[in-house]
Symmetry: C2
Subunit: 553 residues, 2 copies
């Protein structure tokens, strides 16, 4: 797969467009004051960027080349720019205007664990900084070298390590190299009748190692578990050698070292391999659409499903704002028409469902036919008890087909001078309704302070025994023409939302990690002694602070 | 509840006896060469033990008394002896012969988190050692002060902190003080219609804080999760202040600090409170007995159940040896008679089930009636496919009624000069059959080397996606009369089993923690860099090595 665009998400040739969505232009104009058919913002051309020469000591370069082979040590300008950051809105905004930050001095691509070991040894011997790099999709600032880092910076791209090494069919475990991208992982597993069941939004461009390093969660994690649940063993190249845990289902060997690697964002070493749960491809897989009358009842319905014996693979429900955007992005006559037209409209009215308040839900089922049928029955009953109704498999198929396209929308908006981004949290069920109100108020308050039109919307993306993940998306066009204004305005909105998370009993991030973007809220989330414990772990494991310094704490 | 016996398990007045089990005497005589009606071994009387005076500096004592009140600082001899160790076989053997080890100099009982903080502050100021103490049931040596520890040793018994503080009914979360014993926790939850669903063998005498500190697992953990799954938030008094995590369902805030507390065995601080999952008391609860034709097919059946959509609360199956002991411990005409008598025997023969090879399983179901019925149907089908049959609820009820009595058997055997103990592991399904054979061979090899008769048996106690827990029990009578011989012989057998675990791909312990008993296998399990990471965490959090030193690493 080609590397991602240096200035935005995804592959060259793929992008989001409003042109096949007849209602979207009016919707965006109404809510953001942006005409998507107006002039688009210019991006700096790559050739106009001054890319500084790499500062790579000759000895270190020779050692790295000895470790991985000359062709796998790159000092190419584009390569270094692509590896300089992830894909946070802040990353995209800065890259697009030519502010490329502290570039890595080399991009090194080990092809095996032994090569990764040799790379780390060489880097440590030269007191260089090592930043492990998977797919480069991180949106929390986990991939950028500290500004003004005086030591050589080596980006270790593990993308060559992309093989499924072994399936233990009896144990339903797959041993996989950590640099594998989502599609390549599924392709190798599917070919033998298996799936990992891990599908984050970033799936097409993110890696197993990256998922582990950031505690990723996927769209079907309600059934398959998040990456912490499905990762049974890890292999990590650390300064003290290769950390290797065993693929045992459970263990009481002190604090879990496996769990220390999960979410470590490169601070402990280079993840080279993992043993993960594999599942037989399900006999049946369905995602059904449902309409719930309003957000409060929608959340209560999801809670009731979590409390029941039903075990759907997806439990996702959008608030009214996101539901309305969903309808505005339809390409052809669809559910929205049915809502606005005769029979269904009459039915909604009879059920007391206000189209302005209603919430669109997707609930997924997987497994043997009989199981899927029983689950659908259970969930259908609960939805009806909460005043909702099933609208069939059409909307679910549509959602399923375009589920990985969302990240392209940010580039579409940036091209038009508008900012769109996401923030997600999780909280106990009892806390969620107030947290939702607080976050909405915080975002709208920030828009008001900035004097801009803005839009904030939310979906509940995953359900647990005791709570759920709320995933917020917000967009606005910053006032003024200064490019700096954009970042400052972004900080106002993003900070307001993050602060509302921790003030209202949520966590600072459910599955997007900490990086540098969220680090300042960490102590409010896990308390000062918690931060001190993380420091103890990082400092003790990496006494020279060579491993992705400045991230998390 | 009264403190446990100083020399053995459980409450005074409760014990295991062979007298109501007509076949047990012959069974034990046949397999261990021990006549349980022969003379019983003498224990040293408490009054014959020389209990050294506590070495508690006057200032420290004053500070501790100021922290918790004079009546909650105890230097009583019995109190100190009871708090000196847990209840491992090694602990019992040494205590029984009057070898009481390095006693704590004081037992301090804080009644609140604030008092626990004051206790820790005082102890650190005096450079004392602090050993948190819950129910004292640990069997891995996690509670004993290092031999010859020159600093004052303070046992911090959290038993006064035993209240259910709050149930968040919407979130199904209970906030509970960590010193609560199992029965008191369930009593408080049950009174309001809830359960925690955590029932380790030690349930009657162990605490929530102890479960967390050792990564405990309970009999119904297949449904409710182990303590790591059900603990959403912790509060821990650490040298840096109170560590407090949030009760969020999931988070990607770096390596999980909550997970660092799980299994920390007092090395990070004193656990004072936890927020745990609560469940509505199930409408129905059933444990059914099943017979499987042999161990291989029994394990395959459990694996098939784990792979199915069935979600039983208990999946337990004994090997043939344990099945035979089960039948030998019957009190009245029971399943064993039915096996040996007409109709069932004929049926077993027709099904090709050899009574010598057959394995007794207990599978539990909980939830709404309809759910239980569907689960039973699913499991019944799988058991039949593996050549087994359901033998109804009678044996399950019997198991359920006496499930917490097992630990008393060790005292019964010790009284008769025989040693009985347990070792458990977990491993991937594909590894389990060979691991089982290896452990049997290791134990029997050890018996042979010692020239003793011995018995080793096993049950699969918990099932997971990718593997299961195997729980071994072994017993033998050491040769010779020297008391020391017993411990040496015990080490030979126990070490052989533990080494077989790690050599065969298992973990050194599934739910009994590391302590000092298992520490020497830790590096073989989690690798040297893993041990180094634990050291980094402990050393950084507790630079003076005051917190339960010498445990885990």
């Amino acid at each position: 797969m080609a590397p991602m665009r240096w200035w935005g998400w995804g592959e060259p040739g793929v992008s989001f467009t409003h042109e096949d969505k007849p209602e979207l232009r009016a919707f965006i104009l109404r809510h953001l004051g942006v005409d998507v058919e107006g002039p688009t913002a210019r991006r700096v051309a790559f050739d106009d960027i001054t890319v500084p020469e790499p500062s790579l000591p000759t000895d270190l370069r020779a050692e790295l080349e000895a470790a991985v082979g000359g062709q796998h040590v790159s000092v190419d300008a584009l390569d270094r720019v692509v590896h300089a950051r992830g894909k946070s809105l802040r990353d995209l905004m800065r890259h697009r205007r030519g502010d490329i930050g502290r570039l890595p001095d080399a991009v090194v691509r080990p092809g095996s664990e032994e090569e990764a070991e040799a790379v780390l040894r060489a880097a440590l011997a030269a007191d260089a900084v090592v930043i492990p790099f998977g797919g480069g999709t991180n949106i929390s600032g986990s991939l950028e070298a500290p500004a003004g880092e005086p030591r050589p910076v080596v980006s270790v791209d593990v993308g060559r390590m992309d093989r499924l090494l072994e399936i233990d069919e009896a144990s339903r475990l797959a041993r996989v190299q950590a640099g594998v991208l989502g599609p390549r992982l599924e392709e190798q597993l599917n070919a033998r009748g298996w799936t990992a069941g891990h599908f984050p939004d970033s799936f097409t461009h993110s890696t197993l190692g990256g998922w582990i390093a950031t505690r990723s969660c996927g769209m079907q994690s309600d059934r398959y578990g998040d990456v912490a649940d499905l990762t049974r063993a890890v292999r990590v190249v650390t300064p003290a050698g290769v950390l290797a845990t065993r693929p045992v289902p459970s263990t009481s060997t002190g604090p879990s070292v496996r769990e220390m690697v999960l979410g470590s964002e490169g601070r402990l070493g280079i993840i080279t391999e993992a043993t993960i749960h594999a599942h037989r491809l399900p006999a049946q897989r369905t995602i059904l659409g449902y309409l719930l009358p309003d957000w409060r009842r929608a959340v209560r319905a999801m809670r009731a499903i979590a409390e029941s014996e039903a075990a759907p693979s997806v439990t996702r429900v959008s608030d009214a704002h996101e539901t309305q955007l969903s309808f505005a992005t339809r390409r052809r006559p669809s559910i929205a028409d049915r809502v606005q037209s005769g029979a269904l409209r009459w039915y909604l009215e009879r059920r007391g469902i206000d189209p302005e308040a209603m919430c669109l839900a997707f609930i997924g089922y997987e497994g043997p036919q009989e199981h899927v049928k029983a689950q659908r029955g259970l969930v259908g009953r609960i939805v009806r008890e909460h005043g909702g109704l099933c609208i069939g498999s059409g909307p679910g198929e549509l959602y399923d087909a375009k589920k990985f396209d969302t990240p392209y929308i940010r580039d579409f908006l940036l091209d038009r001078g508008a900012l769109g981004d996401v923030s997600e949290t999780s909280a106990p069920w009892g806390t969620l309704p107030q947290l939702y109100d607080d976050v909405e108020a915080a975002a709208n308050g920030a828009f008001a302070r900035l004097g801009v039109m803005g839009y904030v919307m939310c979906h509940l993306s995953h359900s647990y025994h005791a709570g759920a993940c709320l995933y917020f998306t917000f967009a606005f066009r910053p006032a003024g023409d200064e490019e700096d204004d954009g970042l400052e305005a972004y900080d106002v909105v993003k900070s307001a939302i993050q602060q509302a998370f921790v003030d209202s009993g949520g966590t600072l991030s459910h599955h997007h990690a900490v990086g540098t973007e969220h680090a300042r809220w960490l102590e409010q989330d896990i308390s000062a002694p918690g931060v001190a414990m993380l420091r103890a772990l990082f400092d003790g494991t990496d006494p020279g602070a060579n491993l992705n310094p400045g991230k998390i704490v």
